[in-house]
């Protein structure tokens, strides 16, 4: 479903991704692990179309469609979702209003009818409850004054409501205590589906205790240098990235 081929990305004049190749079939959850500076966040921005993270070479196809020529919002409408490592505060825009705007903008881009306000309310409330987000929080401007853990739960809530085809989770575990981690992981697991691919980007093995990946890829110096099953994550936790770094 997602096919990244020989992707090169230069950021501020530095080559960050240097020929990254990766395929994630529908229904699978893949983890990408790597040391600081390996290009993990660059990959998430390149996939979502952030300015300054354009590909200089290579291709990214989602369901056979070239993502790289699309605007960020068009990619979102195509089903690409990024759970941000550092979610932004959106002052003055209540979470419910924000989600409604996002859902309807995506529906419009796909040529679908608007989702009714009642339907949105129903969907959001049910999911919020699962994530232990209070109705009060939904009325507040998105992420404004929220704790790190609350922001991450809001990311998962948005993902659940938007039902993406491809979900990218960038360091979702960072800044979470163990309880919050469990809630977030439950949310992610609930979204596993034969129609959906997930890319879990993480520095640590911790999150993978809760979200069992189908495959683990090791990203070092802008390339995938190793691929294996869940056991690879455990090995990395024990031995670190030294052997890969030495080879790179």
């Amino acid at each position: 479903m997602l096919a990244i081929d020989n992707l090169h990305v230069t950021v501020d004049g530095a080559d960050i991704l240097k020929g990254l190749t990766l395929a994630v079939p529908a229904g699978e959850v893949h983890a990408i692990m790597g040391p600081n500076g390996a290009g993990k966040s660059t990959l998430s921005y390149a996939l979502t179309g952030r300015e300054g993270y354009e590909a200089s070479k290579g291709s990214v196809m989602l369901d056979g469609v070239d993502l790289l020529i699309m605007s960020p919002e068009a990619r979102a409408a195509k089903g690409v979702f990024l759970s941000f490592q550092y979610p932004l505060e959106i002052p003055g825009v209540p979470t419910m209003t924000f989600l409604k705007a996002a859902l309807n903008a995506q529906a419009k881009a796909r040529g679908d009818a608007d989702v009714s306000a009642t339907e949105i309310l129903k969907r959001v409330r049910a999911r919020a409850q699962e994530l232990r987000i209070s109705p009060e929080m939904l009325k507040r401007p998105l992420n404004v004054g929220f704790s790190g853990g609350e922001k991450k739960r809001m990311e998962i809530l948005q993902m659940m409501v938007l039902q993406p085809r491809l979900a990218i989770l960038d360091e979702t575990d960072s800044g979470l205590d163990i309880d919050a981690l469990r809630i977030v992981a439950d949310g992610v697991n609930a979204l596993r589906s034969p129609d959906r691919a997930m890319l879990v980007i993480t520095h640590y093995q911790r999150l993978l205790d809760y979200i069992a990946p189908d495959k683990v890829h090791v990203l070092v110096a802008g390339r995938i240098v190793d691929t294996g099953g869940p056991e690879l994550a455990l090995a990395l936790e024990k031995d670190g990235y030294d052997k890969y770094l030495a080879a790179a």
Partner: protein, 493 residues
């Protein structure tokens, strides 16, 4: 109106930006009757004679002019503009034979065409044209300097409300004009107000008799038209004991190369238990992207809560003008009187706005509330300047002030200068202020969720100004919403 409706209106307006640009940028070719260029005693006499004014008013003007010659243009505001040559402007321009229209059919079609092109006063146009089912908003249209159209006069007259041009009021109700003119903003008040007193051309006059709730919202569209002619409106609104009025003022101006000077004076008088709600949407030509052209707007607006329990509320949406210098104020003279100021000031491009309010607490148990939302984009500078003054006799005065600034991009500026003077220890004053920066990161975050950029800006800006927009009368809210969006054109990126 549902908030949702407002949001959609803004989004639609933002979408229309590319094709729309500044639709008010055109000039109508109508025969003008100009005062000779320049400013001296003869100019004052010319204007007064044109308007067939009584001697007392001419003397009043001349007195103001003599005073003005001794005054110095203020420089304390955070605005920079080239020296104004007051001798290089025309101070009076009127459509010929303006007073002779008996019905709309007789109005110069070009005038009606102008309203059409403006696009903004759609409902007003219908009202002007007498379309069935059109909202009942009385419009006193100031086309350049002389009122040419006044509607609904009869219906208003039935309840005793006087709504006419100030020239007409001078003729028809001289006792009222003479009693109240200059009692809120005296001829000596400030450089621009004094200038206005000497040479004001026209404006609106409202009188609401005791106990009358004005049956409709009164609306005036000001529109500057003559090349090089500054405009100097004078508005006087008197609301007698226990009466109420809501007054709407909206304006657009045609594009031009030279700067247009505008120095209006608005005086409000609220007697015992009276209430005045004054709303403004201001969309004058802000100048081109390099800051050339554009209106210089030096306005003095002041309300006098003269009677006990009276209330004056100012709501303004300021999106236009190259320079804005404006501080709608309340003198809280009557015991238990209250003043409110709700403001959205948007500056983009090279616009400069220095705006705020003064709440002067004189009476006991007086209350005031200030909510100011400043938005800066492009290379604009936006200053909130406010004064809350509690006088020694104003026991138990209360004020709440909230000043929020939103910065779009990193080349603009927001400044806040709140002054507080409390000379009575029983005063309770609260002040809150925030500054928010709308970043590319936030926009990317919203786009990643599927929300296109212009819609993202509209959502953020709407959220920011919502509490002030809600203060506007229904008829104005959508228009204001549209203006908010249009004026932020090109602010991103």
């Amino acid at each position: 109106m549902a908030k949702e409706g407002i949001d959609i209106a803004t989004v639609d307006a933002v979408r229309g930006l590319e094709s729309e640009k500044y639709t008010a940028g055109f000039s109508t070719d109508i025969e003008q009757e100009f005062a000779p260029k320049g400013l001296n005693e003869d100019t004052v006499r010319f204007i007064s004679a044109k308007k067939e004014e009584p001697q007392w008013l001419l003397d009043w003007r001349l007195d103001a002019f003599a005073r003005w010659k001794t005054m110095i243009e203020p420089t304390w505001a955070m605005v920079r503009y080239p020296q104004i040559d007051y001798q290089d402007a025309t101070y009076y321009a009127a459509p010929k034979n303006a007073a002779k229209y008996k019905s709309l059919d007789e109005v110069d079609p070009e005038i009606l065409e102008t309203y059409k092109k403006l696009g903004i006063p759609l409902r007003e146009q219908e009202t002007l044209l007498g379309v069935e089912g059109a909202p009942r908003v009385a419009v006193d249209a100031v086309f350049d300097s002389v009122s040419v159209l006044t509607t609904f006069k009869k219906e208003l007259a039935a309840v005793g409300v006087i709504f006419c041009s100030i020239s007409e009021a001078v003729r028809e109700h001289p006792e009222l004009v003479r009693k109240y003119l200059g009692t809120v903003v005296p001829t000596t008040d400030n450089f621009f107000a004094t200038l206005n007193s000497a040479i004001f051309s026209d404006g609106s006059f409202v009188y609401v008799p005791p106990g009358v709730r004005c049956p409709m919202e009164l609306s005036t569209y000001f529109r500057m038209n003559a090349q090089g002619s500054g405009q100097f409106e004078r508005t006087l609104i008197i609301v007698d004991k226990g009466a109420y009025v809501s007054y709407l003022e909206g304006c657009t101006a045609p594009m031009r190369d030279e700067n247009q000077l505008h120095a209006a004076v608005v005086e409000l008088v609220a007697m015992e238990d009276a209430e005045i709600k004054y709303s403004t949407v201001q969309n004058w030509w802000p100048g081109d992207c390099d800051g050339k052209g554009g209106v210089y707007n030096f306005v003095t607006k002041r309300g006098d809560c003269r009677g006990a329990r009276s209330k004056i509320s100012w709501t303004q949406v300021e999106t236009g003008s190259a320079i804005t210098w404006k501080y709608p104020s309340c003198i809280l003279r009557g015991d238990h009187s209250s003043g409110e100021f709700y403001s959205i000031a948007i500056t983009n491009g090279r616009q400069q706005a220095d705006t705020g309010t003064k709440m002067i607490h004189l009476g006991r148990n007086t209350k005031s509330r200030i909510i100011s939302k400043g938005i800066s984009a492009g290379r604009a500078q936006n200053t909130y300047r406010g004064l809350v003054s509690i006088h020694p006799k104003a026991a138990n005065a209360r004020n709440f002030t909230q000043c929020d600034s939103l910065l779009i991009g990193d080349r603009c500026g927001a400044h806040t200068s709140p002054y507080v003077e409390a000379r009575n220890a029983s005063a309770k004053l609260e002040h809150e202020a925030t500054t928010t920066k709308l970043s590319q990161d936030q926009l990317f975050y919203m786009r990643q969720r599927g929300i296109p950029e212009e819609e993202a800006v509209a959502l953020l800006v709407n959220g920011f100004v919502r509490d002030v927009l809600q203060q506007l009368p229904m008829e104005f809210a959508v228009e204001a919403q549209k203006l908010v969006a249009v004026s932020l054109e090109g602010s991103v990126g």
